[in-house]
């Protein structure tokens, strides 16, 4: 059973992470990760998919998460120059806990204005799983899996932080 305080701190984390991603605050977003972080966006909605057998959109270890952020920070990642204008809503949060870890599942709906060429508005939606633990008193994420509702469809550029 999760305490009200734990639930509140998880929701605060999810909102903060969403805001940092929306505002392309790359360094602060990167600092939310533990050293063993895994960032996964499957290319299917199949819950049984094995990322070591099937291709994903993103399956980053902590090094590759850092590379992803560094690319954006160069100012030459043209698919995000200028950065997309974004706002996402987080909802349907369910939190469980075990062995010093908090596991949060939540839905999101993201509106992205892709301003790099045609100024198209893209809608992104899905369910996210976060695994969170305290490091030196601060909640950090060790795992973020984002299952897009249209994971297996042709997707436009997804080089922002989803």
């Amino acid at each position: 059973m999760i305490s009200d305080a734990d639930y509140r701190s998880v929701v605060d984390f999810l909102y903060r992470e969403a805001r940092l991603a929306d505002e392309s605050r790359y360094a602060e977003w990167l600092a939310l990760w533990t050293d063993d972080g895994v960032y996964w966006v499957p290319a299917t909605t199949d819950p049984d998919v094995d990322p070591d057998v099937q291709i994903s959109h993103i399956y980053d270890n902590r090094n590759r998460i850092a590379t992803r952020v560094k690319l954006l920070q160069t100012g030459h990642r043209f698919s995000q120059v200028p950065a997309s204008s974004m706002r996402r809503l987080i909802s349907n949060v369910e939190v469980t806990g075990a062995a010093g870890e908090l596991v949060a599942e939540s839905n999101f709906l993201l509106v992205e204005l892709s301003v790099q060429a045609k100024h198209e508005t893209h809608l992104w939606a899905g369910r996210t799983t976060h695994r969170l633990r305290r490091v030196a008193g601060e909640l950090k994420m060790s795992y973020k899996k984002v299952v897009l509702v249209n994971a297996a469809e042709p997707l436009p550029n997804l080089s922002f932080l989803i």
Partner: protein, 420 residues
């Protein structure tokens, strides 16, 4: 009465050193491409390893036509139109699966795995002359395979696949022969990347060695990759482009490689030794070492198959200003221990969230906007005309940054589009 429509003069739109912007923006030209290139020509559909068992199928598009590639009871591979012969309903909605028969959800017409009509519910409403044999799922007129790569054509005549590929079979060989068992396996599923541009920009860009240092600058500033030898000073770059004929074109990075496995970003001593040993058992030491040094091809098989080194990609036209780039890692049969790394490399290189293709798609999208500037009609295509040369095997070759590949693509395009 409809107004008379003047024919499109491809020989004027495609010239030796320039091409006309309407080739990317005119819906009439797109419609003619679907007929001349994607109906009458040979088009890559999928790979046999995707449908290993009887009843296995995948759904695809050949041009904009929905198709099912399916393996029948006798291991035969058919490419069928995904369209019921009765009322035109799409028969199969799944991306892949296994089935004993193909059944239309609308009125229950049922077909076997070769597309033959087996049963029609309430047959009393059809008179005695109704011939089930004449109402199967329409089949691609010709289906042909090369080393597991399945191609289809909806024209009963024209060049054979062998004639279409010509010497470019060696590009496919170069991929397959990296497997100790001589086979690649495309079993990791596909990522699909939507690109708001004309389909031709993808193969043109995939085979353009000039843009790397600019479009992908963010990556070079961040990590060291196997491409670091091709973004230096012009005269120090050893990689080349080649024209293999019939629109098949290649970038060959290997003249710039200095070590084995550079194409793989290096490999551990233990794994490299085990792999090389398996290769030597088949090829002998000299040829095995050559293959491991040279690595996989980076080539377009005209019009829609991109052998992207350790990836295989498909270019799917959707509309005159929209296409989809599919990709999957190329697993090498006999070395499953490479698969995990190939997956991670594939995710890094291609797809909407990767470290390379989003930039290409962003630029293609800007190209598409720029080409609507009606007061400027032409795109330049002369780079390298001053230095390209014919090699001993009769192929046109030039510096990797030269537009020899693009010119070869367009020369073949013009030939196909003006064919009677």
């Amino acid at each position: 009465m409809s107004p008379s429509v003047s024919p499109i003069h491809y020989e004027e739109l495609v010239q030796a050193d320039r091409i006309h912007a309407s080739l990317y923006t005119d819906p009439r030209i797109f419609a003619e491409e679907l007929e001349q290139i994607f109906c009458r020509g040979w088009v890559f559909v999928g790979h046999e390893s995707e449908i290993p068992r009887s009843g296995d199928f995948v759904t695809r598009h050949v041009g904009t036509q929905p198709v099912i590639m399916v393996r029948g009871a006798n291991a035969e591979v058919s490419v069928l139109l995904n369209r019921c012969a009765h009322r035109g309903t799409m028969v199969c909605t799944a991306a892949r699966g296994n089935t004993r028969a193909l059944s239309c959800p609308y009125h229950g017409w049922t077909y076997d795995l070769t597309g033959t009509l087996m049963g029609v519910p309430y047959p009393g409403g059809f008179d005695g002359s109704f011939d089930k044999g004449a109402h199967g799922l329409p089949r691609a007129t010709r289906v042909s395979r090369y080393r597991g790569f399945v191609f289809a054509s909806f024209s009963p005549d024209g060049a054979s696949l062998e004639e279409h590929l010509g010497p470019a079979t060696r590009l496919i060989d170069r991929a397959c022969d990296l497997s100790p068992e001589g086979e690649v396996e495309l079993t990791a599923g596909w990522v699909k990347h939507r690109c708001p541009s004309n389909w031709k920009m993808l193969p043109e860009n995939d085979l353009d060695g000039y843009h790397l240092g600019f479009v992908h600058l963010a990556l070079w500033k961040t990590v060291r990759t196997q491409y670091h030898r091709v973004i230096g000073e012009e005269r120090s770059i050893k990689a080349v482009v080649r024209d293999w004929g019939n629109g098949h074109i290649e970038i060959d990075w290997s003249p710039g490689y200095q070590e084995p496995f550079e194409w793989f970003g290096g490999v551990s001593d233990e794994l490299g030794a085990r792999y090389l040993e398996a290769m030597e058992r088949r090829d002998g030491p000299e040829l095995a070492r050559h293959r491991v040094f040279e690595g996989p091809p980076h080539a377009l098989i005209f019009p829609n198959l991109f052998l992207g080194e350790t990836n295989v990609a498909i270019v799917q036209p959707v509309g005159v200003e929209e296409c989809v780039h599919w990709h999957t890692p190329m697993f090498l049969k006999g070395v499953p221990e490479f698969n995990r790394r190939l997956l991670r490399q594939s995710e890094a290189a291609m797809g909407p969230a990767s470290f390379l293709l989003p930039e290409d798609v962003a630029i293609a999208s800007r190209n598409q906007i720029g080409l609507h500037a009606r007061s400027a009609e032409w795109l330049r295509l002369e780079r390298g005309l001053n230095r390209e040369y014919v090699d001993a095997q009769g192929r046109l070759v030039s510096h990797v940054t030269d537009e020899t590949t693009n010119r070869a693509f367009w020369a073949h395009y013009r030939k196909v589009m003006t064919a009677a």
